[in-house]
Symmetry: C2
Subunit: 358 residues, 2 copies
Amino acid sequence: MSSHSSSNLHQQNNDASSNLSKKSAERIKALRRKKQNISTLQKDVLKGNKTALSRAITLIESQQQKHTANANKLIEGCLPYANKSIRIGITGVPGVGKSTFIEAFGNFLIQQGKKVAVLAVDPTSSVSHGSILGDKTRMEELVKQENAFIRPTASGNSLGGVAQKTRETIILCEAAGYDVILIETVGVGQSETVVHSMTDFFLLLKLAGAGDELQGIKRGIMEMADAIVINKADGENKKAAMRAKIEFRRALHFYPLKENQWQPKVKTCSALHQKGIDKIWEMILTYEKLTKNNTYFYKNRQEQNKFWMLQSIDEQLKLNFYSKPNIKIALQEQLKAIEENKTTPFKAAKHLLDLARE
Amino acid sequence: MSSHSSSNLHQQNNDASSNLSKKSAERIKALRRKKQNISTLQKDVLKGNKTALSRAITLIESQQQKHTANANKLIEGCLPYANKSIRIGITGVPGVGKSTFIEAFGNFLIQQGKKVAVLAVDPTSSVSHGSILGDKTRMEELVKQENAFIRPTASGNSLGGVAQKTRETIILCEAAGYDVILIETVGVGQSETVVHSMTDFFLLLKLAGAGDELQGIKRGIMEMADAIVINKADGENKKAAMRAKIEFRRALHFYPLKENQWQPKVKTCSALHQKGIDKIWEMILTYEKLTKNNTYFYKNRQEQNKFWMLQSIDEQLKLNFYSKPNIKIALQEQLKAIEENKTTPFKAAKHLLDLARE
């Protein structure tokens, strides 16, 4: 009986090893296929193929760990071709006309021979499942342009995760030849800070209205803005817009000159009637020239890259931890124990951290 | 020579082992001393000794890793005596009169026989070195009260870190017998969300002013508020305050009923003249009764505890990573390499993560 069972085992081993070699052959083939796919995808992105760009972004946005290696490979492959655009952050409360502004500004830039990518950082999307840019029809004209690429909000479990994906998306868009990147955000939570941390120029859209113009501006936003643009400066609003312009200019003068030697500007425009859009682009070009001459432009990108590195690390640490199979199980147990008052958050955290160390 | 060197080695070994036993004896003594200190400190905190409470908070706020074990021991020891207070979050823009309100509210509560602790979450403190509660003289009366404990902003490297320390401080204050915990924050970044995530009742302070009352309220804050209190409802302001009250009430009615079955209230008060303060406390007691009856109060704390656990883990993962000696060195090298464009944030992060895994 023992010999029988041992021969059986032997037999099984043989089967297993033949299975194994079959499997590895398949795996190697699949890997080659994937490698080829990624390098093909990269080539297509570099050619400026929009479908490839969309697929590439979907890949880097994937939450599945099996996609991580390919996503990393793709980003690394695209990085040498990136960094050549100007990255413009655009913020403003809902109703200020961000979409109309981006539509007008984007179309103007395309007329100037630019290729324009429009991205969004929306911290509320994890709750409300996205709103900014979700409704693409809001940019009817721009979306039809051959030289425009519009991508709704990146997905992620945290604002840090969303930021990470957006940075990588910028790289992909730049590699695809887009030379102006517009990044829209609605002023919620720390989203402006996030967008500020990945752009060269930060534009705050405002409306002229009744009451105190400066009220309702979150502390810190004014300091971040390189320009305040008062939109809807048309018709009956025109007068109020001019008054607001004077008021904002006065307010901006209270802030010390920025490290980049740039005195933040206040402009008015009517995105609806496409008035004043050219002056905004002129201003941004002046800014670019100034800050490239005094090297701030490059230093700022270096600082942003450092921040990017730190944020990448934080995101990866979390991903490594929570994707451990034993942690996945124990996490659910500990959450349940907290719910049943059988442990404290303190002990539960310690338990999970100890478990991960084993 | 070989024998000489070997005897030398032996001698050294002897010295070393005698040194070692001396050292361990000292270490054990020091450990005993520390243990005693921590258990004494804990006892004093439980007795309600304010000096001990201050020292305990300073210990848990310490950024030094050598203090971590003691801090953890202290928190664990205090946890069974905690959780018995009502935790009230108070937010509002600068100028709304938060300090005056807390002074009036705190003094009122003390007259009711309560022990009141006042804490603050200030996300700007890492930049501007703290502002809220920093100037203790702003609460002249309250600070003199035997039954009041006022503690300025917790320190931390990140908002998550600050939140963590504030949660632990709440535990310590509760263990020291404080039965009302007021947590103040200025509406910057995600600080309200953080304070909301650690309180039972969330109060938004507002001013009645000219113009649109609803303007200037960050999206999401209205949804979080269990009550809007219009401060400075006195003198010439009274009429405007009553109008604002009606307007806010109308606005609040647009929101669906909260999970806790509580219909958020709008109140007016004059903190300066101590008018309406009692009604606010009455409202909070009604809220407490309702939500304890329908168990929301407890469920909410459980949810907060789960969130606390997750945040503890994230903070600890970062701490573990960045405190590794080889990472400390390599981090500086990689930051420099990014500055000199010799690497990308992507590669640098990968390099550091690989290094930590070794």
